[in-house]
């Protein structure tokens, strides 16, 4: 993507240390200073190095759903504190801090159209307690899955998560069973399920719905795995190889079907769905 360089020479970090952070972002991939507005137009993919910057869950809604078609469902579900969990911080305080950021939970579900195809979509949100899956996330995915089942339309999940939400104890582990059970029903009913894995997707989320797509699509260079890299390093007492648990590694080991640039994501999903699902013969 060279268009960006032509009209504006990108600034190196060392050139300007006092750049206003609400106008500029520094690319974590190549350290170039990028104009935020232009970056957003490019779906937050660095024009210089193609690094995929983290984006908000809401951004995926507009990337995947046709303009004006997304209608949120189950927005009224909120995290409770069933265990009365308190570590260095009480769970309700963590919830409040996440809600102060304008988030209601670590997943947004809704229905809409993708290139004219009716879909149900759940997008996980890393900004809410690390995208962790507790009762609400599990329930939102289960309900969205049941909508797909009832309406016989494809189901998409965009994952971004550190795994199960420890603050809900076994209730959170069992959400893995809950989401997988719904996907089993979709599987039996021959309804497409597409899993899109973004940076990072680890733990119990990878070990449940995220790996169960008819087609698993990874964003470039996303960290995807079961155990976190630090846990593995501590266990095996050695450093991990370069690129370990990154998208390319998963592709090479047969765990994802393809790595797709965010700017091609919608087109790719539409292409797959038209192949998979009856009713859209050209």
């Amino acid at each position: 993507m060279a268009w960006f360089r032509k009209d504006k020479k990108p600034l190196k970090a060392q050139d300007r240390r006092d750049l206003p952070s609400d106008v500029f972002d520094k690319c974590p991939g190549c350290s170039e200073i990028l104009y935020r507005e232009r970056l957003a137009q490019n779906l937050n993919v660095c024009p210089a190095c193609d690094h995929h910057l983290k984006i908000a869950a809401e951004a995926y809604l507009s990337i995947l759903a046709d303009s004006g078609t997304f209608e949120e469902i189950d927005a009224h579900l909120r995290a409770a504190d069933p265990l009365g969990f308190e570590d260095l911080k009480a769970y309700p305080d963590r919830i409040a801090a996440a809600e102060a950021k304008g988030k209601t939970e670590a997943a947004i579900s809704g229905t809409g159209k993708l290139d004219g195809i009716d879909i149900v979509l759940t997008v996980m949100d890393f900004a809410y307690i690390g995208g962790s899956m507790g009762s609400v996330v599990g329930e939102k995915i289960a309900r969205a899955g049941r909508v797909a089942l009832e309406r016989e339309i494809p189901f998409l999940i965009v994952s971004a998560s550190g795994g199960a939400r420890m603050q809900e104890g076994m209730l959170s582990l069992m959400q893995m069973a809950k989401t997988s059970t719904v996907l089993a029903r979709l599987h039996e009913a021959s309804i497409p399920f597409i899993s899109i894995l973004t940076n990072p997707t680890t733990g119990g989320v990878t070990a449940s719905h995220s790996m169960l797509g008819d087609v698993n699509i990874a964003e470039p260079d996303a960290l995807i795995g079961f155990a976190g890299p630090r846990v593995i390093e501590e266990t095996i007492k050695q450093e991990l190889p370069q690129g370990f648990q990154r998208s390319q590694f998963l592709l090479e080991h047969g765990m994802v079907d393809c790595i797709v640039d965010r700017r091609e994501l919608k087109k790719t999903v539409a292409l797959v769905l038209r192949h998979q699902f009856a009713g859209w013969t050209e």
Binding site: A164, L171, S172, T181, H187, M255
Partner: protein, 314 residues
Amino acid sequence: MEFERDIIEVQTQIDKLLDLADRKGIDVTAEVKSLTAKLNELKAQTYKNLRPIEQVQVARHPKRPYTLDYIERVFTDWIELHGDRAFRDDEAIVGGWARLRGTSVMVIGHQKGRNMKDNLRRNFGMAHPEGYRKSLRLMKQAEKFGRPVITLLDTPGAYPGIGAEERGQAEAIARNLREMASLRTPLISLVIGEGGSGGALALGVTDRILMLEHSVYSVISPEGCAAILWRSAEHREKAATALRLTSKDLMELEICDEVIDEPLGGAHTDWDTTAERVGDALERHLHELSALSPEALLEGRWAKYAAIGVWYEV
């Protein structure tokens, strides 16, 4: 174990007295009787009031019966079946045909080792993807022949290593969850020791979830949780309490369907009695589930997992 100290002390006194009686022909009946009563009282007091971290210690007790010990005592006609047909045989999980009081069932369980040499083979009961894939192969075989599946859960967790990630640890667990959700045969899981996170759940999407009294079932180990949330594994006691991982907790959270009482002093003190109770419970649940059609089983299973979770609505 710290909380066992008084129990062991009294036990030693009894043993000494009996030894004395043996060698010198002294009548110690009265003393032994009184000490035994004291011992039982002590065991009851101790084991009914274990703190969560102590429950974890009992669940991990090195003398606790493991999967193969139950297979030896609860089942007959055992034949172990090996391998995932793709990569290797993972001995952290054992599985095969067995008979539960006359009924052929597929039994699958995590298998810990008793000593270092055993544990090199068994990897401390921490399975690689091929262990879960072997399990799935055996569950599908059970389904093919209309036989129930009984799983025994006892693992610190799925193994976190390079090979495990390369071969798709997450995919292997995820696939088991999904496939178990629609397996057209009765499924019962029993946590016999440590129900460690996704590595345990990979054998745990079942019609009934049973737990031995002193077993634990947790989303993460207390040590792992403490390291992340308290930034030091030393806070494991606080984490163990906060995680609500005991059998009693899991009954209250409506995840566990039944707790099987252990003999006084824990399963490790009396394997045979524990096995007897396990056999009784499994037989009873199997009998109930066998009366259901495959469709009714699936409906029940789907409803069971759909109902787990606590939230509120605004």
